[in-house]
């Protein structure tokens, strides 16, 4: 009965997701606590060419944006397809989770998730090649994210070299 009642007050788009930052420094349960209070969103699946201006325009639709930090390739220091969006209020961030998550920016469906809060260093991709981890291993060709995944690119290069 209580489960059904809960469904009447449902707000599932605002729930925290499964992802936990492995580099998070803090006690057990602290990350969850921060996520539940956070005003900051992680935004993924951006094109490498998506600009801060475009992000600002879209995310301003749910409230005043405090700052945007574009994610960078650790080596090249160029955009590598993610960013953080911080709002002044939790309520505005929640509306972004409800109404901007899963819609398109720069023709791509973007994904937003709660973030425990920006810290220096977190603006860099953590993949071996400098970009995001997901771009290391993916098999598909995505022209807006550097083409093939890095592993696939290496294999291709190796194959060509050994020929």
């Amino acid at each position: 009965m209580s489960v059904k009642l809960h469904a009447l007050y449902s707000d599932s788009y605002v729930d925290i997701g499964q992802y936990r930052d492995q580099h998070f420094k803090g006690q057990l349960g602290e990350q969850e606590k921060l996520l539940k209070q956070s005003h900051t969103l992680y935004v993924g699946n951006l094109s490498f060419y998506t600009t801060e201006e475009q992000v600002h325009e879209l995310f301003s639709k749910s409230g005043d944006v405090k700052r945007i930090i574009i994610g960078l390739d650790k080596v090249k220091k160029t955009a590598c397809g993610f960013c953080f969006v911080e709002y002044y209020t939790r309520a505005d961030a929640e509306n972004a989770m409800r109404f901007i998550n899963g819609t398109r920016l720069d023709d791509r469906i973007i994904r937003t998730d709660w973030d425990a809060g920006f810290k220096e260093g977190r603006q860099y991709g953590r993949g071996k090649s400098g970009g995001q981890v997901r771009d290391e291993y993916r098999q598909d060709y995505d022209p807006a994210r550097g083409g093939y995944g890095k592993l696939a690119q290496h294999r291709t290069t190796e194959a060509l070299n050994s020929f």
Binding site: L8, E53, Q54, S62, I68, N95
Partner: protein, 729 residues
């Protein structure tokens, strides 16, 4: 019992009302006491909601009660008695019109559900009731209506005041002898059981008296865009005065109200509306959604929700809904000439955001008619603003490639920086040499003192002598520094914000005076006039870091230099954002004051209860003293902030009055019609200030009436103020 009540709470799923009333009816037939308890619980709930100003909830409670008459839980005569008590509110004197409006609305809105039953049992009393309502509706003042209408034109669909429309619908229902076939009534199937049940009498219910802090719902206008001619195939749309139309719209609004946070569920619930095969459901849904989006003063929910909801609906019905949406967009475009400016803003934002989710695909050629008229007219203006917003969500070349070549005049400018001191062709300008020095200094990470020293060399065009002691306003100094700085930081928003932060001290020094603040805004506009989005974020940052204040921004927007941009959307976005920041600032300090006061109270209670402990006493007194000091400081801060807020509104209204008076006088002397596109935009922008910030403005009504909106004012301008006042009557 309370669990039952919670799970069936008609407040939450009012569109399923008749299912729940049937259930209560069957339970009552089995157990008379249950029925009695339930009705009592509902009456208590009703009293609570009315006490707490939850008028929209209360409507559903009363509707639930009235449907319980159909389920033989409540005796018809006692329901009629309750309605009579409600309608007697119209006899009260010296109460706001919105109060008696609400009680009349509640009664009328229940009649589609229970009219038939009540008339069968008590037709004489019901006739008297309706006659009283009719008399009231005829006496009502309707000054407020024009301020709430989405279009100024009566054709093709008049936008009726909501009570007038509902009255017409009930009249028609009565003429049809209360035959209502749309509402699903499960209790009919159980009639043989229910008619055996014992009914309860509602206790006499006196409507709570009027309290000065009561917040009755605002009046509204019924939004109509479709009629029976618009759905080409399939079921016909019920007429505008049919009660079916009312019930469908009510239920669809309820579904949105219940599920707005869950867009997939909301879309699914809308599309599975019971009885959907007998009505052109997609048309109703689109009409209801746009009705909410364009509602004045503001939509019930955040604008972006409607965009995303429509996208979900398109996903679920890809073969039919996009076409209806396109049809609606066409119709809205065709009627732009008479559309309220504030509503047009929302249409621009919705349409551009929607397109950005569908690769900006649109048949722009269909709108080629906008190319042949003056660009200040609504249609080309609309297309221009849409293309600008589309560009912000993509990039300039995309827009160029997107539209036919014939539309090139409406394409936004490429958002590039305009640097006055760019190259040697600027060598003759007075600030040129220093701009290079300053630029190098900044690049070489010179200190603030070093830069200020360099800037001392900038001659002051406002002064005769070279004596530059003191902080006299030097526009050239501001120009040279800011242009150079912003040029170096032009790459992105982050670069520019970083620059403003790094040189905050210098900027504060340069803008110490009101003229300084005004000039800095002027320079920002000069360099970034092709990139209104950048102007807006820089102005926002400068307010938040107190480089400029809100009044300076208002004065700048209304200045002669900005007159040619007056009808552009970005101007009003900046102004409203500025007002909102001011309001939030005041609220924040008020909250701090309240919290400090609460803390003091708690502290005092603690001291009283630990009266014997001497040490505690001393610490407590110290803390209390500190708190009292803090409260005094906060009190001053609140007063100062409120004063600044009042001043901001005074500046804005004053400027409006000046501009409009000028225009009216000029037209009169030239014997020209006052209704230019500029004037329509101006008057509606003034209305928008009132509507969007009515809660704050209410506090300053006295000052506004005494200082600005006096009887001497031109009646065209005064009318706006009077319409606004009428909203609260």
């Amino acid at each position: 019992m309370s669990l039952m009540w919670e799970s069936m709470s008609a407040r939450l799923l009012p569109e399923k009302l008749t299912v729940y009333t049937t259930l209560v009816g069957l339970l009552n037939a089995r157990n008379y006491n249950f029925g009695g308890e339930f009705v009592e619980a509902m009456i208590r709930q009703l009293k609570e909601t009315l006490k707490n100003n939850f008028y929209n909830e209360a409507v559903y409670l009363v509707r639930f009660l009235s449907d319980l008459v159909n389920c033989h839980v409540i005796a018809a005569p006692s329901m009629v008695a309750m309605f009579e008590n409600f309608v007697s509110v119209t006899q009260e004197e010296d109460v706001p019109q919105v109060r008696s409006d609400w009680f009349v609305y509640v009664v009328l809105s229940c009649l589609p559900w229970v009219g038939k039953e009540l008339y069968e049992k008590k037709d004489v009393e019901m006739d008297r009731l309706l006659s009283q309502i009719e008399g009231y509706l005829q006496r009502r003042v309707k000054t407020h209506v024009s301020m709430l209408q989405v279009w100024t034109a009566e054709k093709p669909h008049p936008q009726e005041e909501y009570l007038d429309c509902l009255w017409a619908q009930i009249q028609k229902l009565k003429k049809d002898r209360w035959q209502e076939r749309h509402i699903l009534r499960p209790y009919i199937a159980f009639d043989s059981v229910l008619c055996e049940a014992l009914q309860h009498n509602l206790p006499p219910f006196t409507p709570p008296g009027h309290m000065p802090d009561a917040q009755y719902p605002m009046p509204r206008v019924v939004f109509r865009i479709f009629d029976y001619t618009d759905a080409p195939e399939g079921p016909v749309m019920p007429g505008s005065h049919s009660v079916e139309r009312f019930v469908i719209e009510e239920n669809l609004h309820c579904i949105i109200k219940t599920h707005w946070k869950e867009r997939k569920t909301c879309a699914a619930q809308l599309l599975s509306y019971p009885g959907k095969n007998k009505i052109p459901l997609n048309y109703h849904i689109v009409e209801v959604i746009f009705g909410e989006l364009f509602q004045l003063p503001s939509p019930p929910h955040i604008d972006v929700m409607y965009t995303t909801l429509l996208i979900e609906l398109c996903k679920l019905q890809p073969g039919s809904l996009p076409q209806v949406l396109a049809q609606a967009t066409e119709m809205l475009y065709m009627r732009l000439d008479s559309m309220n400016t504030g509503c047009m803003d929302r249409l621009i934002n919705w349409f551009s955001h929607h397109l950005s989710n569908f690769q900006f695909r649109w048949s722009w050629d269909d709108w080629a008619d906008c190319l042949s008229t003056d660009q200040e007219k609504p249609k080309p203006k609309f297309v221009k603003e849409v293309l600008e917003k589309c560009m912000r969500l993509s990039y300039h070349q995309r827009i160029v490639d997107l539209v036919p070549a014939t539309f090139s005049a409406l394409i936004p400018a490429e958002p590039v920086f305009r640097y006055k001191y760019a190259d040697e062709s600027a060598a003759s300008l007075p600030g040129y040499a220093i701009s290079i020095t300053v630029g190098n200094a900044i690049k070489n990470r010179a200190s603030n003192e070093e830069i200020l020293t360099i800037l001392k060399e900038v001659p002051n065009p406002n002064q005769e002598d070279d004596d530059d002691e003191g902080e006299t306003f030097n526009p050239l100094k501001i120009d040279v520094f800011l242009q150079t700085l912003l040029h170096l930081a032009a790459k992105s928003f982050s670069h520019s914000f970083s620059a403003l932060g790094k040189f905050h001290e210098i900027l504060k020094t340069l803008t110490d005076s009101d003229e300084g603040k005004l000039h800095i805004l002027k320079v920002v506009y000069e360099v970034w006039k092709n990139h209104p989005q950048m102007i807006a974020v820089l102005v926002d940052k400068m307010i938040r870091t107190q480089i400029v204040d809100c009044a300076a921004v208002a004065n700048w927007l209304f200045s002669q230099d900005m007159a040619h941009e007056f009808s552009r959307l970005f101007i009003w976005e900046i102004l409203h954002s500025t007002i909102r920041k001011m309001n939030k600032h005041v609220q924040k300090i008020q909250k701090e004051l309240e919290e400090a006061k609460d803390k003091l109270e708690k502290q005092q209670h603690k001291r009283v209860s630990h009266g014997d402990d001497e040490d505690m006493d001393k610490n407590s007194e110290d803390e209390e003293g500190q708190l009292e000091e803090q409260i005094e400081r906060l009190q001053e801060k609140v007063e100062s902030a409120q004063s600044e807020q009042k001043n901001l509104f005074l500046v804005i209204f004053q400027r409006f009055i000046m501009l409009m008076t000028e225009h009216l006088v000029r037209c009169e002397t030239g014997s020209v019609d006052i209704s230019t596109p500029w004037y329509k935009n101006c008057i509606e922008r003034l209305q928008q200030i009132f509507l969007m910030h009515h809660v704050t403005i209410q506090q300053y009504m006295g000052t506004l009436e005494n200082l600005l909106f006096t009887a001497e004012l031109d009646h065209h301008i005064l009318a706006v103020y009077q319409q606004f006042c009428a909203l609260q009557l």
